[in-house]
């Protein structure tokens, strides 16, 4: 059997592997960062793109991964592996707890409730400045940023570690969305009431999807702390809840590779715009207006629609 979706995504992985040897240092580092942030975007996409939960509070889960790894490393002398695991657990548990409460609401109320939880988390980080170092943030010294003997502060190692995390996330997501549970997630997005009358409890399905989304966000946050050596309150602010939504919308909500593409495009858009002007957010705004007008389903969503049946086979 020819699995076209697996082929197209392995093709993307091959391109990213080749990029490891071909990219100049600046872009090499940039793409490593994009790969880690893409994992965060993939997590957001599971909740928003596939299950239809528009959250404005995902920075809480990203930050839980970030601080969940950074604080054990710097305060309690943990090593890289356990710290990474702590970040994952912190974000996953937090996402499940937020879900238990926030999923009693839907639509605009859900957006507001998740936003409030994230703001509460942000303010908590500032309040506990003695341990979190608040706005200034925690800088993780180079010797601590090691995992299984690998020095993650080294550019080449970091790129490969980021790629490994990305590939795990990408293939797991591809498997998820093509599994029976993935079909139920999409059913919730498309018509919750109809899905309920097929015997699915919307609450438990959405809670599971949000928890998984939290796991992805936490993995990205914890990896970010280890690879880039910094955990600060600015990464828990509201803009870090909005960013994954923009990445996902730009690349294509409800496509497996869309979050990466959107994150990459947005990064370089801001990067090039900052050469010309300091008003980079204006450029981002114009890009988003253009997106809504001309390709509301994002880059890969538009491509998939154009290709019809073939599109659905190559780009789930």
């Amino acid at each position: 059997m020819r699995d076209r979706a697996l082929l197209s995504h392995l093709g993307l992985v091959a391109v990213l592997m080749a990029a490891h040897w071909m990219l100049p240092a600046y872009h090499h580092d940039a793409v490593a960062k994009v790969l880690v942030l893409s994992v965060y975007a993939m997590g957001y996409n599971i909740a928003f793109g596939y299950t239809g939960m528009l959250s404005l509070g995902h920075a809480l889960f990203f930050a839980a991964g970030l601080y969940g790894a950074a604080m054990p490393l710097t305060l309690w002398g943990w090593t890289g592996g356990p710290a990474l695991a702590a970040g994952l657990v912190a974000a996953t548990v937090l996402a499940a707890a937020v879900g238990l409460l926030a999923l009693r609401t839907r639509g605009v109320s859900f957006m507001i409730v998740t936003l409030m939880f994230a703001q509460a988390g942000y303010l908590t980080i500032l309040y506990l400045g003695r341990w979190t170092r608040g706005d200034e943030g925690i800088v993780i010294a180079q010797p601590l940023r090691r995992i299984m003997g690998l020095d993650l502060s080294d550019g080449a190692t970091r790129y490969l570690a980021a790629l490994l995390l990305f590939v795990l996330g990408l293939l797991a997501c591809l498997h998820l969305v093509r599994s029976p549970f993935g079909r139920v997630m999409v059913a919730m997005r498309e018509n919750e009431e109809r899905a309920r009358m097929l015997g699915y409890n919307p609450f438990t399905v959405k809670l599971a999807a949000l928890t998984l989304s939290g796991l992805y966000s936490g993995a990205a946050g914890a990896a970010y702390a280890l690879m880039f050596g910094y955990a600060g309150a600015s990464l828990a602010g509201v803009q870090y809840s909005i960013l994954p939504m923009l990445w996902v919308l730009l690349g294509g909500a409800g496509t497996v590779a869309g979050p990466f593409l959107g994150c990459l495009l947005m990064f370089y858009l801001i990067d090039y715009a900052s050469v010309i002007t300091s008003a980079t957010l204006l450029v981002v705004g114009v890009a988003l207006v253009a997106l809504v007008l001309f390709a509301p389903k994002g880059a890969l969503g538009a491509l998939r629609d154009r290709l019809g049946k073939e599109g659905r086979a190559w780009l789930p």
């Binding site: 498309e190 309920r196 097929l198 015997g199």
Partner: protein
């Protein structure tokens, strides 16, 4: 008597403000029958079956299914107990393929290994096998109605509630639909809300007439046809 009764509703009531949409309705469904629910527009038919399926909570009264009290059970749990509901206004997943629509119903029963085979069989049964890869929203209206019924059947229900299933179907499609429904009993029980009197008189073993949220009469098609009160309230109004 208990062994032949599949579902038993007693005193079901649902008011919306001052409107007594369903007002103390009793209904018994015998195992393996086709039971039609008729009545003028606004008689409370859809609200009543919503109380049976759990989409709307009852304000008072009880529903027993297979002898168990299910009055407090949420809708998705009632589906798992074997009560399937097909929507009056077609509500297929328009952006998913026909196959995925039916697969959602099949996999919910815990089928995993034989998912593809059982889904294909369910599509075959209503004659939609050729459309498996089509996006459901692009199907003709008649095919979407059939898909809706295929999803209900794929749940393998003991009670299938059909809310105006022939609405908008062509005459040839209605004949096929009648044969499909006749083939379901006596293994399954069918509760049918229907405005098309030919379909009702041909299919139903028993008929319950609702009017202003209350049961006007229950009986065989012959009895209902002969009932003066029903004629006045409903059949007479149409003639």
């Amino acid at each position: 008597m208990a062994a032949v009764t599949l579902l038993e509703a007693r005193g079901l009531t649902r008011h919306f403000g001052g409107l007594k949409a369903v007002d103390g309705v009793d209904l018994d469904l015998a195992r393996g029958e086709i039971h039609a629910l008729i009545g003028p527009n606004g008689a409370g038919k859809t609200t009543f079956v919503s109380l049976l399926s759990g989409r709307t909570p009852a304000q008072s009264g009880t529903v027993r299914f297979e002898g168990r009290d299910i009055t407090r059970l949420p809708a998705h749990a009632r589906v798992r107990q074997g009560i399937a509901y097909t929507f009056q206004i077609t509500q297929v997943f328009a952006n998913l393929t026909t196959f995925d629509n039916v697969a959602l119903a099949v996999q919910g029963r815990g089928v995993s290994k034989r998912l593809v085979r059982e889904t294909s069989a369910a599509l075959e049964r209503v004659g939609l096998a050729d459309c498996a890869d089509e996006v459901a929203g692009t199907l003709s209206y008649g095919h979407q109605r059939l898909l809706e019924i295929a999803m209900g059947l794929a749940l393998n229900p003991r009670l299938l509630i059909l809310d105006e299933p022939t609405q908008g179907l062509a005459i040839g499609e209605i004949e096929n639909f009648k044969r499909l429904i006749e083939g379901l009993v006596p293994e399954r029980t069918v509760l049918l809300i229907e405005h098309n009197m030919d379909v009702v008189m041909d299919l139903a073993h028993r008929i319950t007439v609702l009017n202003f949220g209350q049961v006007l009469s229950t009986g065989t098609p012959e009895e209902i046809r002969a009932n003066a009160a029903v004629q006045a309230a409903y059949l007479g109004g149409q003639a």
